[in-house]
Structures are given as structure tokens and as C-alpha cells.
């Protein structure tokens, strides 16, 4: 029992800050040493997935439910900011917040009835919303008067290098933007994990009845988590749009992306701070390699890897890859006796 409770959430504040600071520092200076565009593309993808999964983790990890349709919100973000940009020339820097707000509202609307029911209902509802949004987008040429071109998708009008329009020719800008975004969502998660809300969420996720008996409004806490999570996922959607300039319904509002997001977080370690990032660092490059070599007619085969790894993790390390990594970390500390004599996090 004690072993199970040694959750990554109990990582000491000092340690996690150090890890984060060193990580950010390395990532900040990396572009000065590495010039290869392919490498940048990969790095941006890794950071993007890490960002999305960290957002997912707020509700999927801490709130103890299983959202399997987060691509919905990325899609809402990408479509909203782009449509506003195309029609009103509104810069995506502002438009992305409109998309994010819309996504948060949709998220709360999905969560409100389903959080009260069994967890399976919520998972099913998120899948259904994701699929239905895709069907709607694919079948409509105009949505509320905005051109969305059905299944053909929308193309962003290119402005060349135009920072005010969130358009850059150099990939390095995107690299830094997503790095900052990841840092922000990481910090928010970190604060929430340590706040009353975080403890309420974990309590409500693990023992709903017990938490409610203590007077915690579990459903409300989950809704707040859902709103924050979907808000940031939508910002990630806009980022993706600015990066690739083109989206079509199946390309973003897909179950594939939804599952990728959820699986990376679960494999890394749901409900842990570093889990989603570790998951993205390990899985995205592997998936990209499979995609590169098996692409074309075998689109989607890279998901085999995700499925297999996910099952293995569930079977052997249900808390995710973070668990053995932390054990390794502790072992290294002990080996080189860097650990203080009294183990504070054992006493929990």
C-alpha cells in the first residue's frame, strides 16, 4: 500500500523546480547549437504533444476520469482562430483566446451531465463529441456564416514573416513559442497540484463518495479542471494551425489524435507532473520514425506502438513510466549518497 502512495505528486518542491529549470535551460540554448530543420520539426512536435498531454493530464490525470476526445478542443481552437483571421483579419494572437473560451464552454457542457455518472459515460461522451464535431465540420461548407469548406478544410492566408499575425518563416520562433506555452501549462499544473483544488480533484477521482461526504463538490472541481484543460488544449490547436497553415476535419478533430494525447499521458504517468513530458519525449520520436518509414498506405500503423506500449504499461506499471524512473532516480541519489538521511517523502 505504502509503495502505491508514493506518487510523483509527492516529489519535493525543490527537486522538481531544479529538474524543470535545468530542462528549460537546455531547451532554451539548444537552437544555438543545432541547425537541422528536421530536428527542429521533431522538437516542436515533441513539445507540442507534451503541451497537449499536460493539458489533458489536468482532467485525465488528476480528476480521475478518462477523456478520449481532446482533439475536439484542439480543433475548436484551430478553427475559431483561423476563421476569425480569415474573415475579420483578427490576429490569431487574440483569436486563439476566443477559440479557447469556446472550447472551455464546450468542455463544461460535456462535463456537466457526465461527471455525475459512471466514468465510462464520460469517456463515451467525449468520443461521441469528437466524432460528431468531425462529421459536422466535414459536412458543412459554411458554419454560422463562416466558410469552413467541409472536408476540404481551410488554408491560412500566408503573410510571410509577420509576427503580429502569428506567422513566422523561421521554425525557431515556433520552437520558442511552444516552449513558453509548455512552461506555462506546466507551471499551472504544478500550482494546481499543490492547491486545494488539486487535492480535491485527486480525492474526488479516487474516492468520489468519501470526498463528497467530506463536503467537497467533486463535480464542480472536475468542471473547473475540464475548463482549464480544454482552454489550453484549444490554444495548442491554434499553434498547430499557425505551424502547418492548413487543417481539415479528419486531420485534427480525429480519434487518432485524441488517443495519442491520452495514451502519451497514461504511458508517461497520469496524474504526475513530469509524466506527460516523459511520455512525449519517449513516444513521439518513435512514432515519427514509424510514420516516416511506414507512412503512405499504412497511415496509422504507428498507433500499434502506442497501443502495445500502453497495454504493457497497464500490465506492469499501472502508474506509468514515471514510476520506475523515479525509483531509478532515488537509487542514483542513494548510490552517490546525495539524499538527506531522513527521507521526508516516506512519512506520508
Amino acid at each position: 500500500m505504502e509503495k502505491e502512495r508514493t506518487h510523483a505528486k509527492t516529489l519535493k518542491i525543490g527537486r522538481i523546480t531544479w529538474i524543470a529549470l535545468i530542462g528549460v535551460l537546455i531547451l532554451l540554448v539548444a537552437p544555438f547549437f543545432i541547425q537541422s530543420p528536421a530536428f527542429f520539426q521533431l522538437m516542436i512536435l515533441i513539445l507540442w504533444y507534451a503541451y497537449l498531454t499536460t493539458s489533458w493530464n489536468l482532467v485525465g490525470g488528476f480528476a480521475g476520469v478518462l477523456p478520449l476526445g481532446h482533439a475536439t478542443f484542439a480543433g475548436i481552437g484551430a478553427y475559431t482562430s483561423s476563421v476569425l483571421f480569415i474573415h475579420y483579419g483578427l490576429t490569431p494572437w487574440v483569436g486563439m483566446f476566443a477559440g479557447a473560451l469556446l472550447a472551455a464552454i464546450v468542455g463544461v457542457i460535456i462535463g456537466a451531465p457526465t461527471f455525475r455518472l459512471r466514468g465510462a459515460y464520460f469517456a463515451l461522451a467525449t468520443i461521441a463529441i469528437c466524432e460528431s464535431l468531425r462529421v459536422v465540420l466535414e459536412n458543412m461548407q459554411k458554419f454560422l456564416g463562416f466558410d469552413i469548406n467541409g472536408a476540404r478544410g481551410i488554408l491560412l492566408p500566408l503573410k510571410g514573416h509577420s509576427p503580429l499575425d502569428y506567422q513566422f518563416l523561421d521554425k525557431r520562433y515556433f520552437y520558442y513559442i511552444i516552449l513558453v506555452m509548455l512552461a506555462i501549462i506546466f507551471y499551472i499544473t504544478y500550482r494546481i497540484a499543490r492547491s486545494k483544488l488539486g487535492y480535491y480533484l485527486v480525492a474526488g477521482g479516487e474516492e468520489k463518495e468519501a470526498a463528497e461526504a467530506l463536503g467537497i463538490n467533486v463535480a464542480k472541481c472536475k468542471l473547473i479542471a475540464m475548463a482549464i484543460s480544454t482552454f489550453f488544449t484549444a490554444l495548442g490547436g491554434t499553434f498547430y494551425m499557425q505551424l502547418v497553415h492548413y487543417i481539415y476535419p479528419r486531420g485534427i478533430v480525429s480519434l487518432d489524435l485524441s488517443f495519442e494525447i491520452a495514451f502519451i499521458a497514461i504511458i508517461g504517468g497520469r496524474g504526475t507532473l513530469l509524466g506527460p513530458i516523459v511520455g512525449a519525449v519517449l513516444l513521439v520520436p518513435a512514432a515519427e520514425l514509424t510514420r516516416t518509414y511506414l507512412g503512405g498506405s499504412y497511415e496509422g500503423v504507428h498507433l500499434m506502438l502506442y497501443g502495445a506500449v500502453l497495454m504493457a504499461v497497464m500490465l506492469f506499471k499501472p502508474r506509468g513510466i514515471m514510476e520506475p524512473l523515479e525509483a531509478l532516480y532515488r537509487w542514483v541519489l542513494r548510490k552517490f549518497s546525495l539524499q538527506p538521511v531522513i527521507q521526508t517523502d516516506r512519512s506520508v
Binding site: P113, T114, L124, A128, N139, S297, M304, Y306, P318
Partner: protein, 294 residues
């Protein structure tokens, strides 16, 4: 008018197959309280099995049930025994086994991607002698393969219902679903019951795959269509209810064929999802108020 009747009949016939898929899902949920996300993938596996049986040896899908049914049962039985049980055990006392949901979701994605790698992304169909056969009732046209599929569904549903109500094993399955601790105290080996229930659920979906093959196509992600429909159906009919699954299936089949006939085929999915979401919001316990059998 005849088009209307034909459409309705076709919808009901197709709905029977949806109901069959959902029946396996609802059984597994009723007993284990787990949504088997990989359900459609098992359907896909059954369809490929039927397809290759027919292509390689010429065995008719209905005759082939002698082979597919036990194979799918074993597939389900051992999936539960080897993959799901260890994870399930950890969460035995948890009311909502989320890890098991995730495991089956992983299995879903794995099986679909595996089939894609193995069989390629092509649509495959078989040509049985009765493939295009129809039955004329006045001006109403009924497709025979669909009629056979529907009849099989009805027979199987009745057999299954009797099995659950009358046999010793059926009672043990229901008892485990109602209260696993009490069932264990009564001397029921609940681990075995889980294996068997999962096996039966997959065997039922295997039958659905076999009877679909004469008039449908198979490709690696065909399961997703049925998967999502099955999820919707079990919620419509009430999670855990067998008559609910069949009725829900018929409703979805009807909606689908009516919308395709009178509005446009591309919107069927959208309308089905709209129904699902409104049921989820307004009557999450299911449309008909059937009590779960367990």
C-alpha cells in the same frame, strides 16, 4: 410508400446486427462493469476470419460459425485471462476500473493498427451465392443476407436470454454481476466467470461479424463504425440491459436508414450522435427504463 416500408424494414434488419454487437458489450459491462473499448476490433477480427475462411476454403459464413464461434470465444476468454485480469485485480475494490478502460482502449488501437499492417487498408468483400438475393413482398424488397442476419440475431438473443435465466452457469454470471463479493461467498469462482462472460461477449460479437460478411465489407478500422454505434446503443438501451441493447440497435438502424433515404447519407452519423448526446443529457439511465439484468 413502398420505399418507406422497404427503408424501415432494411433499417430494422441492420439494427438487429447493431443490437447483436451491443449485446456482447452490455454483457461484459453488466458482469465486469467495464466498457470493452476493443469490442469493434473483435468484430473486425471475426470478419477477417470469416473472410479468409470463405476465400481460402469456400466455407460459407453461416457454416463457418462452427469454427469462428469457438475461436472468438477462446480469443475473448484468453484476452480476459491474460491481459485484463491482472489489471482488473489491482482495481478490484474500485467502483470504476479506469485502468481496465485504458487497457481495452490500448487493445482497440493495437488491434486496428495491427490489422492495418497485416491486411492493408483495402476494403474486402466476399461473394456468397445469395449475395445479391432479394425477397419480393409485393413492391417491398427485402435483402436476403440481411434477413438471415436478423433472424440469426433474434435466435441468438433468445438462446442467450434462456441461457442466462435457466442454466447454472447463466445464474452464476448474473450473480457475479449483481454482487461479486456475495457471489464469491456462495462458492462461485468469479475469476472463471469473468473469463467466461468475456468469452461469451466476444463470441456474440463474432456471430455479428460472421453474419455481416455476406452483405458488408471488411477493412482494418471497420470496427470503429460498429464500436461507436454499440456504445451509443448500450447507453440508449440502458447499460447492462439485453432487451435494451436489441431495441436500441433497432432504433439506431431505423434512424440510419431513414436519414440516409430521406435526408442525406453523410448526415446519418451526425444525427445518431445528436440522439446519443441528448439521451446522455436527458435520460442517462436509458430510454426504456429497463433494469439491468444483474
Amino acid at each position: 410508400m413502398d420505399i418507406m416500408v422497404t427503408t424501415i424494414i432494411n433499417g430494422i434488419l441492420m439494427g438487429g446486427v447493431y443490437g447483436l454487437t451491443a449485446m456482447g458489450l452490455t454483457l461484459i459491462f453488466g458482469v465486469m462493469k467495464v466498457i470493452n473499448f476493443a469490442h469493434g476490433s473483435f468484430l473486425m477480427a471475426a470478419m477477417f476470419l470469416t473472410y479468409y475462411l470463405f476465400q481460402l476454403t469456400g466455407i460459407d459464413p453461416y457454416l463457418g460459425l462452427v469454427i469462428t464461434l469457438p475461436l472468438l470465444f477462446a480469443f475473448g476468454y484468453y484476452t480476459q485471462k491474460v491481459l485484463i485480469r491482472p489489471v482488473f485485480k489491482i482495481e478490484r475494490d474500485v467502483r470504476e476500473p479506469i485502468s481496465v478502460l485504458m487497457l481495452t482502449a490500448g487493445l482497440w488501437i493495437f488491434m486496428d493498427a495491427f490489422a492495418l499492417a497485416l491486411f492493408g487498408a483495402f476494403y474486402k468483400t466476399i461473394r456468397t451465392p445469395y449475395k445479391g438475393a432479394v425477397l419480393h413482398l409485393g413492391d417491398v424488397i427485402i435483402s436476403l443476407p440481411r434477413l438471415y442476419a436478423f433472424l440469426t440475431t433474434v435466435i441468438l438473443a433468445i438462446l442467450f436470454y434462456v441461457f442466462l435465466k435457466k442454466t447454472r452457469l447463466g445464474r452464476a454470471i448474473r450473480a457475479t454481476g449483481q454482487d461479486r463479493d456475495a457471489a464469491r461467498l456462495m462458492g462461485i469462482n468469479i475469476d472463471r466467470i469473468y473469463n467466461v462472460a468475456f468469452g461469451i461477449g466476444i463470441a456474440i460479437v463474432g456471430v455479428a461479424g460472421a453474419v455481416l460478411m455476406p452483405f458488408y465489407y471488411v477493412h482494418p478500422v471497420v470496427g470503429v463504425v460498429f464500436d461507436i454505434r454499440a456504445f451509443i446503443i448500450v447507453v440508449l438501451g440502458g447499460l447492462g440491459s439485453i432487451p435494451g441493447a436489441l431495441l436500441g440497435g433497432v432504433i439506431i438502424g431505423l434512424v440510419e436508414s431513414l436519414v440516409a433515404q430521406f435526408i442525406t447519407a453523410t448526415w446519418t452519423e451526425g444525427i445518431i450522435y445528436a440522439i446519443f448526446i441528448s439521451v446522455l443529457f436527458l435520460r442517462p439511465e436509458g430510454l426504456f427504463g429497463f433494469k439491468a439484468e444483474w
